[in-house]
Symmetry: C2
Subunit: 356 residues, 2 copies
Amino acid sequence: MRAVVIHGPRDIRVEDRPDPTLHAPGDAIVRVVAACVCGSDLWPYRGVRPTADPHPIGHEFVGVVEAVGDGVTSVSAGDFVVAPWAVSCGVCPQCLNGVQVACDRRASWGGTDDLGFPVDGGQGERVRVPMADGTLVPVAGVTDPDEPLLKSLLTLSDVMGTGHHAALAARVGPGRSVVVVGDGAVGLCGILAARRLGAERIIAMSRHTDRAELARRFGATDVVAERGKAAAAAVRGLLGGVLADSALECVGTSESMDQALRCVRPGGSLGFVGVPAGGAELPIGVLFSKNIAVAGGAASTRAYLPELLEDVLAGSIAPGLVFDAVMPLEDAAKAYAAMDERRAIKVMLRPSGEAR
Amino acid sequence: MRAVVIHGPRDIRVEDRPDPTLHAPGDAIVRVVAACVCGSDLWPYRGVRPTADPHPIGHEFVGVVEAVGDGVTSVSAGDFVVAPWAVSCGVCPQCLNGVQVACDRRASWGGTDDLGFPVDGGQGERVRVPMADGTLVPVAGVTDPDEPLLKSLLTLSDVMGTGHHAALAARVGPGRSVVVVGDGAVGLCGILAARRLGAERIIAMSRHTDRAELARRFGATDVVAERGKAAAAAVRGLLGGVLADSALECVGTSESMDQALRCVRPGGSLGFVGVPAGGAELPIGVLFSKNIAVAGGAASTRAYLPELLEDVLAGSIAPGLVFDAVMPLEDAAKAYAAMDERRAIKVMLRPSGEAR
């Protein structure tokens, strides 16, 4: 099969890889219908995070189950499934607490599972899914989704669930005012999640016309282009002299964390989901004196999948709009470059058998 | 009048000070019936926090209103009142949000109010209370509380409300398991608060027999003497292989914060109320990967006072047991030394007119 392999900074190749086979009774083989590039894939792409050895990459995909091991009960061949960005068993205390990202048997796409078997990357034609019952979510009644639905289903793998996690962590709810720092796919999904949770005022922070437009479409009531202290002043101006009840930090740099903290009122809440990659810190003195609650981290999108899937199927949210480009899998290198250069918000990749 | 003045490290003096008078229409004059020494008073006492100039000290007191300004409507002469540890207006957006410690007009006992008038310290015979309507809470039906009730009322000024804040910040509730780091008055009140909020398992961390005994009386189901990694292992042992849902950090040092974080399960919550004085830090990488929510800070005890007062008056909680020593105000220096040397958990001070 064909699959994407990262060799080092800016070195993305599509290569022949062995077709996956079932190794354990809990395994499933999924034929990938669509995958995508994540903002966090750009960290190794840019060399911010080192790539020690070449390895398959990609942790967001949807597809059709081709085969399952004897122990699999929740999905079967032919099912259309969404794979969350992390593999989880579904039965350990962490999974039962809804914190699948801390699963005792957690594995990552493109890595190795706890039994020592390699796990395929999501950016490829096929993937062996360990612990399929704990990991995959079947999409009832759907076998061949049209492109808009396909895109929305694909966001449930990561970005929509991550935006929702940020909003929950920031205690967004009816009547609350919310600032969203970050206009990438996660930030945009955070806006959509905040609207879904009933936020009254949603202030998007963006300097890009196309992203700001999508932010408004997703529910942003205001867009602020300022940064740092000026951004906080703009928020105060919009909210009649007070700061926001909640802020979503969806970038992961020290600047974005600082900006998000500045925008939260005393006693407010900050939800952070940007992978800390730029020296982001939590200043304990500020949190103490302002009583700002901080929560978030890696999102257990598996936990949110059933609930968000229902809304996607009902058509009440359309997070797939974050995909502004679709490319064949063979063009993966171009997809990375487009996202790196911010020419695209998010790129969907289609294996050749699926391209239209 | 007589009042305590701090001159520098280990230099606590009881001096003659001018009797306070009404300066603003919102002022009240309170005759102090009981005051006390706070763990945070020990920071300047130990020189950890510098004392630039001698100033009155003490931020926890209860007493009887002697006079009120024309603008005061919620208390009147003769009322027995509890003063929270911070002065607040009660009407600004922060106060209305229940975050009185961030009041737009906040003032501190022993400092200066926003009008520029000096504010007396709580460790003295009398105190001018600015913004009395926003600050003081009258105790209906009580004029001359007996000593056990007096002690419990006095804890509502700070430590009981602060322990409650820690428990709320750590999302303590029915069925939750809780670790409490710190066996001072705040930590002990945190245990009492956790029990009051319905926690199922409360693990106190203590190496002192008397404090551990009080911890059990307040509701601790287990006491752990280990520290650091060994403490986390002990918690895991007690909870059947998992870590705690919640941890209360009630000290403020880097060691205590580290210990509290080690004891929380993925997706759990940490409430911190220890004034950060020892380089305590929040490691963003750990919070991100373990999804640990952090909240807390300076407690708006004014917000919790009505609710906790009701329980004290009903006799369902008796936080006053944290006071294991009572001294006349004139012995304030001895009270500081006793707490500094951990010979006392918490010392109540009685002005001479009130001593028995």
